[in-house]
């Protein structure tokens, strides 16, 4: 028990939880925007890789950190555009297209990495985002280190939660996105473009997903490794359901997952000799499955999720 208390009482633990949650916040917001408009984007895992690679490479080649963020977002947007073309314009299966995008974006990223840097053996490093210490606040006990030792990208993620929530619930654009994910006919009958809204949502959502990847190479670490995304995209897909497609709950879900993961790392350090490490690695995933089972059965899916829309279809 002491072990547990120690873990939860340490500011470092909470700082780590938030750090681990950050890429998930980007990813879950992106997935949420796509799905609210009625498009499932399983390209997320690959878009994470593409964002991680593109952002890092841009910085490595001298673009500057924010330049890297922008390039990452653009890379995500491009793959989003491809997904939108396949699913919204051509009406193909969103599952199949999404998995295809994941495979394509992952391999394209590795390929680009290998061809641009054929000779390096150990991954080159960049100077990543640094934690910004807010003078005064950072010195607060407990909260200070947990919150105010994060990098600007974490702050960006938190601000984006508020922005996405505001746009979704307080603007005509959000209204249209929520409507098109529920009943595209309602949007068409009011003279708006179903396709335009869906393409826009998928592109923006994919750009956000890529920022999740960029955080990995430009803030959490300082280099690009193979396999570094490691299922984070899939976790976001589950978190959207857990969050009932609401930005606030999405933030909560990401933080919870971050806390599980940080907890598991520390528990491993404490009692890792007794229990094999893989058990700890499994834990956050098991917990998210459990959370899904409890929440998702009652989930209020966007009614038009997965359904392609063709103009002039019978409705």
């Amino acid at each position: 028990m002491d072990v547990l208390l120690d873990i939860f009482a340490s500011a470092n633990f909470w700082a780590a939880a938030i750090r681990i949650a950050t890429p998930l916040i980007f990813g879950v917001l992106g997935a949420l925007i796509c799905e609210r408009a009625g498009v499932l984007n399983l390209g997320i895992e690959g878009i994470f890789v593409a964002g991680a690679m593109a952002g890092w490479l841009a910085v490595y080649l001298g673009a500057g950190l924010w330049g890297g963020v922008l390039i990452a977002a653009l890379a995500g947007a491009l793959f989003g555009l491809l997904h939108a073309f396949l699913t919204v314009i051509l009406g193909l299966s969103q599952h199949v297209s999404g998995i295809g995008i994941t495979l394509l974006a992952t391999s394209a990223s590795y390929f680009t990495y290998r061809t641009t840097l054929p000779d390096v053996s150990s991954p080159p490093r960049i100077a990543p985002f640094q934690p910004i210490a807010v003078p005064g606040l950072s010195d607060l006990p407990f909260i200070g280190p947990a919150l105010f030792q994060q990098t600007l990208l974490t702050w960006l993620a938190l601000v984006l939660v508020a922005i996405v929530a505001f746009v979704l619930y307080r603007t005509p654009l959000g209204l249209a996105i929520r409507a098109v994910g529920d009943n595209p006919a309602s949007v068409e009958a009011q003279g708006l473009s179903v396709r335009g809204l869906r393409i826009g949502a998928v592109v923006i959502g994919s750009a956000l997903m890529a920022l999740g990847g960029a955080f990995l190479t430009m803030s959490a670490f300082d280099a690009f490794f193979f396999g570094m995304v490691n299922g984070r995209g899939w976790i976001c897909i589950a978190l959207v359901v857990f969050a009932s497609w609401q930005p606030g709950k999405a933030l909560l879900g990401a933080l919870l997952f971050g806390a599980f993961d940080a907890f598991q790392i520390r528990l491993q350090a404490e009692i890792g000799q007794v229990v094999p490490g893989q058990v700890f690695l499994m834990m956050p995933y098991l917990l998210s499955i459990l959370a899904l089972v409890l929440v998702a059965r009652k989930a209020d899916y966007p009614r038009a999720l997965l359904q392609p829309w063709t103009k002039g279809q019978r409705h």
């Binding site: 603007t171 409507a179 009943n183 068409e188 708006l192």
Partner: protein, 515 residues
């Protein structure tokens, strides 16, 4: 006196779906303050025409012109609901186009404010409130649409159009989903709106309400304009003939020759007593060459009788006898093979597989016959041939044997089902609500087919809430109330009042209360 200005004119609109001509060079004018009824049987092309006018469908030929504020008639670009809305055309679809996860207010606002702005929710609310006050379309604007009644959803739809300053309002079968009281309320609103200058196009296939609410009536038949008349000139008979194209032949019933009992319910009980689906000690016989009516208020056990006759349920106690032999281990397939045919109550849902083709739906109960399959492989050619002849013989209006069944209108689905079940010359027919929701032409057709099957020697049980229908068909009446079936006697000796009392649960022997 000059006529009010023309608001809208359709000029020679033609629309084809494959080989089917859904609209054939149709022209129409609508004037200010006018309620124009667009009347026609199911599948006549009413919805298609309005979908073209509103830009959901693109016409193959023809022009839509709408009067601008300046008074000129401008033609609308095809296929653009946005342009139709901007020109002042509003449409209330047969199937509502509302986002159920949003409030009524948000559904009305949707698309009326610049997307990249903060919106004008408060202003919108004020304006909508004043429209509600003016029109009488009372509704709670803040409830999620999913939680509204059908009537309320319809009012939101009308408000959507009025909020955009519609000068032309199209309503596609607006009363199909309403109770009679709600429909009456809608007519009051429509008259008030028209009095304020709005032009209304009101689509319907119900004669009575069309005569009650409209100024002018245009009849469509088979995609063509069949006639146009003012409500004052119109009489029911003439319109009915226009709709159907030929004088609607009164279905005549000749006395049949009744044979031996084919099916017998003997003291059948099923389900927990006093639930809506329970049957208690039900006994009756169906005889060859006889149509038996099962009258009753819905929810008194009719569905259970239908389930028994479809092989979807077995009695808890008591016996069903076919040709005097007790039936054990029934299943839908066994019953079909034993010569049962059923026309299910919810024909779109239980009668056809919507995503399968017309040909497949016609073959579906008979795929094991040597004609349609060998060694478990379907003979597609034979299915096509059978479908083609069935489509012709039963006048199923559809683009062809390969069209998906969900694209068919209700009347045509029923004809498809008739084609499927009657071609096998069944001995026992269950017709459950056989003409609910059908237009007069299709109704007469279904009745004729059922009578013909009886004359061929089939035993028919008709379940219906429509007493007129039962009197038109039945030789003998059964009445069901609270899971008990009473024998009411031959149709000739009965009147509606007697049946009505039995339906309400008054026993056969007690005298109706004297005044």
């Amino acid at each position: 006196m000059t006529d009010p200005a023309i608001l809208l004119s359709l000029d020679n609109i033609t629309k084809r779906f494959g080989a089917l001509v859904a609209n054939d060079a149709i022209s129409l004018d609508l004037r200010e303050s006018e309620i124009l009824a667009l009347l026609g049987e199911n599948g006549a092309g009413k919805t298609t025409l309005m979908n073209i006018l509103f830009g959901h469908y693109v016409q193959d030929e023809g022009l839509v012109r709408v009067r601008s504020n300046g008074g000129d008639m401008n033609s609308l670009p095809p296929g653009s609901p946005g342009a139709a809305l901007a020109a002042g055309v509003g449409m209330v679809h047969q199937h509502f186009t509302l986002a159920e996860n949003l409030s009524g207010l948000d559904n009305i606002r949707l698309g009326t404010e610049p997307l990249l702005s903060l919106g004008r929710r408060a202003m919108a609310r004020t304006r909508i409130k004043s429209i509600i006050a003016e029109s009488g379309l009372e509704v709670d604007l803040d409830r999620r649409v999913a939680d509204l009644t059908v009537g309320e959803k319809q009012r939101i739809e009308i408000l959507k159009a009025l909020y955009r300053d519609a000068r032309v309002l199209i309503l596609d079968e607006p009363t199909a989903v309403l109770t009679p009281q709600e429909a009456e309320g809608l007519f009051v609103v429509l008259r008030r709106l028209a009095a304020n200058g709005l032009g209304v196009i009101f689509i319907s296939h119900k004669l009575g309400e069309v005569l009650a609410v409209s100024h002018r009536i245009m009849v469509l038949r088979g995609g063509k304009k069949a006639g146009e008349l003012t409500a004052a000139q119109a009489d029911r008979r003439a319109i009915a003939d226009l709709m159907v194209g030929k004088a609607v032949a009164e279905v005549t019933r000749t006395p049949g020759s009744i044979g031996k009992a084919l099916l017998e319910f003997d003291d059948v009980c099923l389900g927990k007593p006093s639930t809506r689906t329970a049957l208690s000690h039900v006994s009756f016989k169906l005889r060859a060459g006889e149509i038996v009516a099962l009258a009753g208020i819905s929810g008194n056990g009719q569905t259970t009788i239908a389930a028994l006759l479809s092989g979807l349920a077995v009695p808890d106690s008591g016996t069903l006898r076919l040709d005097g032999q007790p039936m054990t281990r029934t299943s839908p397939r066994r019953l079909v093979e034993a010569g049962f045919a059923r026309m299910p109550e919810d024909r779109q849902h239980d009668g056809v597989v919507g995503t399968m083709s017309v040909a497949e739906n016609i073959a579906i109960e008979d795929v094991r016959s040597p004609e349609l399959s060998r060694f478990g492989f379907l003979n597609r050619n034979a299915m096509q041939t059978r479908a083609q002849s069935a489509i012709a013989a039963y006048d199923v209006r559809c683009p062809g044997p390969d069209a998906e069944a969900r694209l068919l209108s209700g009347g045509n689905v029923q004809k498809l089902i008739l084609a499927r079940v009657l071609e096998r010359e069944p001995r026992i027919i269950l017709a459950n609500q056989p003409t609910r929701g059908l237009d007069i032409g299709a109704q007469a057709e279904v009745h004729r087919r059922i009578l013909a099957a009886r004359d061929r020697g089939a035993a028919v049980l008709v379940i219906s809430e429509d007493l007129d229908e039962l009197f038109a068909l039945a030789d003998r009446f059964l009445v069901i109330h609270a899971g008990e079936v009473v024998e009411a006697g031959p149709a000739d000796a009965l009147d509606r009042a007697t049946i009505g009392l039995l339906m309400a649960g008054q026993s056969h022997t007690t005298e109706p209360l004297a005044q």
